[in-house]
């Protein structure tokens, strides 16, 4: 699991690559909290290279989105692939956080 982030025009983009499971979630959570420390309130998660996630991973995404909401900001999820996308759908995330097909449409949603 690897996390990278960039911030451009007030939009914080966090890309998570690899597996977000019970083993990798503690370190993912630490990294994300640290990144959110920048105080940004527009967050885009790029999941184009996310290969797997379990409920532990869903919880990390949900807590980040809740934190952004507390800052009166917005979170968008984007570019998830096949089976990973299905897990987000089954968990009903689409009704609480906007999901976009590409990074570009995710950025557009936050502008």
């Amino acid at each position: 699991m690897e996390i990278t982030h960039t911030e451009e025009s007030g939009i914080l983009l966090i890309a998570i690559k690899g597996r977000l499971d019970g083993l990798t979630v503690p370190s993912a959570e630490r990294s994300i909290n640290e990144i959110l420390g920048s105080g940004s309130n527009r967050l885009l998660f790029d999941f184009s290279e996310l290969e797997y996630l379990s409920s532990a991973g869903l919880r990390v995404v949900l807590s980040a989105a809740k934190e952004i909401k507390r800052r009166a900001g917005r979170t968008v999820l984007c570019a998830m692939q096949g089976y990973v996308k299905e897990i987000f759908e089954v968990s009903g995330f689409g009704s609480i956080i906007p999901i976009k097909d590409t990074v570009e449409s995710g950025i557009a949603e936050l502008q």
Partner: protein, 142 residues
């Protein structure tokens, strides 16, 4: 299809997830399972395993979790047995999927996913052990 079976024992430590995943992959290859199906078994077993590892024991004694998987006539049967305190994860409440972000509860999704990705889940207490039996139809790759 001939019957394929695999059976192994893990300690109830989170670090054993790695061994669990390797065993699932081996089983997937042996039974010739589609990729999507292996992905779903990994998800289901991770959820059950982490639940047992978190809640299944309340003492310092080391506990074990035994997993058996078999595949016959397009049905995968997974049995998970552990020697922890009586605990039925299937009783955990279903999360409210339709509330707004602020009210959305952070827990409860794991078992919800297990139920979604299996056809049948049964819990029983057998002697001093918890036994969960899951049945899953083989989902083809799309």
């Amino acid at each position: 299809m001939p019957k394929e079976t695999i059976s192994f024992k893990l300690d109830n430590r989170l670090s054993e997830l790695e061994t669990l995943n390797k065993k699932i992959d081996t089983f997937g290859v042996q039974a010739g399972l589609p990729k999507k199906c292996v992905f779903e078994i990994r998800l289901v077993l991770e959820e059950i395993f982490t639940n047992i590892a978190y809640y299944g024991s309340r003492d310092d004694r080391g506990h074990w979790i035994k997993v058996s998987m078999s595949c016959e006539n397009n049905i995968i049967t997974i049995q998970i047995e552990d020697d922890g305190i009586p605990f039925n994860p299937l009783d955990l409440e279903k999360p409210d999927l339709y509330c707004n972000l602020e009210d959305r509860d952070i827990g409860g999704l794991g078992i919800y996913l297990v139920k979604h990705y299996t056809k049948e889940c049964v819990y029983k207490r057998r002697g001093n052990n918890n036994v969960l039996i899951l049945k899953k139809t083989i989902s083809p790759d799309l």
